[in-house]
């Protein structure tokens, strides 16, 4: 992305929904998914990011990984705003099943029900699942 101009990317813009369903650290999906979201957003695409199922654990507050010798990438979710990813959702049923509430999360999200998530998925051009 070393374009000299400040103008926006002028290629086709599609609606991308990233569906994050895996807990962090146990597998590489969460970190890989986050990187793909940032790259997609850097190309000025219309990005929605959804945390559902164990994916809601990705944005749990207070992560402290020094004891397991892995990089704590939870602060990177706070960079989404700077990448202009503003549509960030967490599924209500997933939070409740895991005893979590919005107060447990590192970033503000819009909480939506499974039925609302189904509607949101219906409006996308591309769904990418991690």
């Amino acid at each position: 992305m070393d374009d000299f101009e400040d103008d926006e990317f002028d290629g086709p813009v599609k609606k991308f929904l990233f569906l994050n369903r895996k807990a962090p650290y146990g597998t590489i999906y969460a970190l890989e998914g986050l990187e793909v979201v940032l790259i997609t957003a850097a190309f000025d695409q219309d990005v929605s990011m959804v945390f559902a199922d164990d994916g809601v654990f990705q944005i749990k507050k207070d992560q402290e990984t020094s004891g397991i010798n892995m990089k704590n990438f939870s602060p990177t979710y706070r960079a989404l705003e700077g990448y202009e990813v503003e549509k960030v959702y967490a599924e209500k049923e997933s939070l409740e099943a895991r005893g979590l509430s919005e107060d447990d999360l590192v970033i503000p999200v819009e909480v939506l029900s499974a039925a609302e998530l189904a509607e949101l998925m219906d409006t996308q051009d591309v769904i990418v699942s991690f």
């Binding site: 807990a23 164990d54 654990f57 004891g67 397991i68 895991r98």
Partner: protein, 101 residues
């Protein structure tokens, strides 16, 4: 010596914890590690399975809870937190060790 079972998968995503508990006898030890530590949380849809097995000794690996931001979250009553050296002690005190992967 009784068996030490280890579970490293989230109970919300896999049946591994249930598969383990179906085969774990009273008096056995079950250690939750990696994503398995999500099973230690109190007040979740998965909490009951562990809570009703009072005759099994449950452990959870502290560094894995810390990494996942769960250090301050309430755990199911009776779960003992251990660190890596505690893991070694458990493995020494039990035989055989069964890892539910």
């Amino acid at each position: 010596m009784s068996i030490l079972h280890t579970v490293n998968k989230s109970p919300f995503e896999r049946n591994t914890l249930m598969d383990c508990l179906a085969r774990a006898k009273d008096g056995a030890a079950v250690l939750l590690i990696e994503d398995g530590v999500y099973g230690a949380l109190a007040g979740t849809q998965a909490s009951d399975a562990i809570a009703k097995r009072g005759a099994i000794k449950f452990y959870a690996l502290g560094p894995d809870l810390d990494a996942r931001g769960l250090a301050e979250k309430p755990l199911i009553d009776g779960i003992t937190l251990i660190d890596y050296s505690g893991f070694v002690d458990l493995a020494e005190a039990h035989n055989p060790v069964q890892s539910w992967l």
